[in-house]
Amino acid sequence: MNQLLKIGMTVQTGDSARSCRVEQFLGGGGQGEVYRATLDDAAVALKWYFPAQATVQQRRNLQLLIAKGAPTARFLWPLALAVAPGVGGFGYLMPLREPRYKSIVDLMKRRIEPSFRVLATAGLELVHSFLELHAKGLCYQDISFGNVCFDPANGEVSIGDNDNVGVDGETGGGVLGTPRFIAPEVVRGEAAPSTQTDLFSLAVLLFYMFMIHHPLEGRKEVAIRCFDLPAMTQLYGVEPVFIFDPADDSNRPAPGYHDNALVFWPIYPQFFRDLFTRAFTEGIRDPLHGRVRESEWRAALAQLRDLIVYCARCGAENFYDAASGQSAGVCWSCRQPLRWPPRLHIGRQVIMLNHDSRLFPHHLEQQLYDFSNVAATVAQHPGNPAIWGLKNLTGRNWVITSGEGAIKEVEPGRSVTLAAGTRINFGGVEGDIRC
C-alpha cells in the first residue's frame, strides 16, 4: 500500500552504479518511504522520495552532504544517491539504524527507563554531535523527537533524517522545523532556520529528555482550550515564557497538569538548572548571542554525569550539588537523607567517587570524549573490602601526595586509597580527594 518501490527490485547508486536490492518496507514519512536494502551484502537503509519531494534542490543538497561526509559516526548520513530504472525520482542510501536504539518518543511515553547516567551520556553525545555538525558550517533545521534515538543501556545516540541538513545561511528550501521545537523567531516568521535556531531546538530536546516536559508549557498552556496551530504560535512564538523564568512567574508549571516539570526540576544541580534558565530566557530574548552553545552543554552534561550519587537506602540516582553546601538533602525516591561519597576535584570538574565511578580521557586531558577508554576506576581493596581506592588504568604512573605530605607513585594497575586530602598528579593535570 502506497509503496514507491517494489520489494526485490534493484536500484543503482548514483556514483558508481552499484546495485542495491530492496528488501523490506520499513515505514513512510512526510517526504518519502524508507526501506531496508542490501548493498554489497551489507544491510543499508534506502529512503525514496515522494514525487513532489524529489526536487532538483533536494538532489543537489544530498550530493553536497554525500561529498562532505558525516560529521561523526553518530549520524545516519547519506552515503550515495540512488536511482531506479523505470521508477521516477530518486532516493539515497544511509546506514541502517540498529534495533538497540530507541526513540525519544519511547522515553516520553516511558516505554524505556534509562538511568540518569544514560540520559546525561545521551545528552552529551547529542550536543557533541551537533557541535561537530555546526562546526562543518551545516545546520540541521529539524531537531525533534523523531530524529534522535539512543541506546537506553549506554546512552549512545543515533541521529537520522539528515537529508534536510543544509549549509548555514544558504538553506533555501526544506523545512521550518517541527512545531514545539521551532525557535520563537522562526515561529514568528522573523528568521529562517540556522545553526542559531538549531541551538534553541537542541535546548528544547534536552529539556524534554531531562524533564519529560516542554520548557514553555505552564499555566499559559493550561489556559488554552483548543491546542491548534494558532495556539502553538502564541505559546511557542508570540509569547514564549520559560516555566521557571526567575523574573516572570506568569507561566509556572501547574500542579496536576505539568507534574513532571515540578518533580524533575529540583532534582538537578543548580548549575544545570541555570543553564536551562539561560537557554529559555536570554536564549529567547537574544537569539544571536544569548543561546547556550553546544560546548557549554557538553561541559555541563559531562559534569552532570559525574555528580551522580546513589542513595544508600534505595539505590536511586541523585545529584551532588555544590551550591547546596554541606546539606546533602533527601533522596527523591525514598525521601531518606543522602550521604555524599568521597569526591575528586580536578580543576573545575567534580567527580563523585561511587563504587562504580570511572574516569575517562576528558577528565584528564582536554576535549576528548571517549567512554570506551577508561582511565581509572573506583576499586575495592582485595584484602579489605572496607577500603576503597582509585585504580590507575592509564599507561603511566600517577604521583600522589597524601594529606600528611608523603609522596608515592601509583603504577598502572595499582590503586590509591580514597582518603581526604590526597592529591593525585595524573601527568597533565592534578586532582584532590575530598570527603
Partner: protein, 233 residues
C-alpha cells in the same frame, strides 16, 4: 523501582470520529464492504501513528446514518484498544441528523474544556435526505465543532460534493474522491494517519507553505505516482 521520577509526557485528548453513510445505496457494488475493509485496514496504521505521538491521547468512535442516525461505536475508545465493527447498508441518508447528534457530543461537557482539535471524517456516497443545514448549523454552533478538522470522503460519482464541501467549510480543502476501492483505502489511511498526526503534532513545517487559514496544517493527500518510465535529470 523506577530509575526516574514522574510519569509520561503530559498529553491532551484527541477525539477522532468517523461519520459513516449507511444508506441503501452503500449496499450497491459492495461499497459498504469496501468501507469496512478500508477502515479495518487503517486501524493498525492509526495505532502506530498514535504510538509514535507522545502529545496526544487518541480516542476513536463512530456514528452512522441511514434512516435516522445512531452512534455505531459510542464510547470514545483509546486507539490502542479500538476495534472496527462492520457497518450494514439500508435506508435513506439522514446526514443532518448525524451532525446534530455529533454536535450534542461536542458540547462541554461531555467534551473536556482542554483538548487537541477533534478530527471529524464524513464518508458518504449520496445526497442528504433530511435537513443537512440544521445539523451542520448545530455542529458549527459548538466551539469544538468549529475548531474540529472536518474532512470528507465522497464514494462514487453520486456523492453530493457541494454538501461535503460545506461540511469541510474551508475552500482550500476539497472532499476526497474515492472512485475505486484502492482510492478509498488510500484516503481512509491518509485521514487516519497523516491527518491524525497533524492534528496533534504537526510534522516538519514546509518553509514555502504560505500562511494557512486552517487551524491545523493538513498535509497534501497522497496521489498515485505518475506512470512515467523515467524522470529526466
Amino acid at each position: 523501582m523506577p530509575k526516574l521520577p514522574g510519569g509520561e509526557l503530559a498529553s491532551r485528548p484527541l477525539h477522532f470520529i468517523w461519520i459513516a453513510d449507511c444508506s441503501g445505496s452503500m449496499g450497491v457494488d459492495g461499497k459498504i464492504q469496501q468501507l469496512n475493509f478500508a477502515i479495518r485496514d487503517a486501524v493498525p496504521h492509526m495505532q502506530k501513528v498514535a504510538e509514535d505521538n507522545p502529545n496526544a491521547a487518541v480516542l476513536v468512535r463512530a456514528i452512522k446514518f441511514s434512516n435516522g442516525a445512531q452512534w455505531h461505536i459510542a464510547q470514545p475508545t483509546p486507539v490502542a484498544e479500538f476495534k472496527w465493527l462492520d457497518l450494514e447498508a439500508m435506508g435513506v441518508t439522514d446526514m443532518g441528523m448525524a451532525l446534530s447528534m455529533l454536535a450534542e457530543q461536542l458540547k462541554i461537557p461531555p467534551m473536556s474544556e482542554r483538548a487537541l482539535p477533534p478530527v471529524l471524517v464524513l464518508i458518504s456516497d449520496g445526497r442528504p435526505t433530511d435537513d443537512f443545514q440544521k445539523g451542520l448549523s448545530a455542529l458549527l454552533g459548538e466551539p469544538w465543532g468549529r475548531k474540529a478538522v472536518r474532512l470528507a470522503i465522497a464514494i462514487g460519482e453520486d456523492a453530493d460534493y457541494e454538501v461535503l464541501q460545506r461540511f469541510i467549510g474551508h475552500p482550500e480543502l476539497k472532499p476526497l474522491q474515492a472512485n475505486s476501492p484502492e482510492a478509498l483505502v488510500r484516503h481512509i489511511r491518509w485521514v487516519s494517519t497523516a491527518v491524525l498526526k497533524s492534528a496533534s503534532a504537526p510534522a516538519s513545517q514546509p518553509r514555502e507553505g504560505g500562511v494557512s487559514k486552517l487551524n491545523v496544517p493538513i498535509p497534501a493527500p497522497p496521489e498515485p505516482g505518475p506512470d512515467v518510465a523515467e524522470d529526466v535529470w
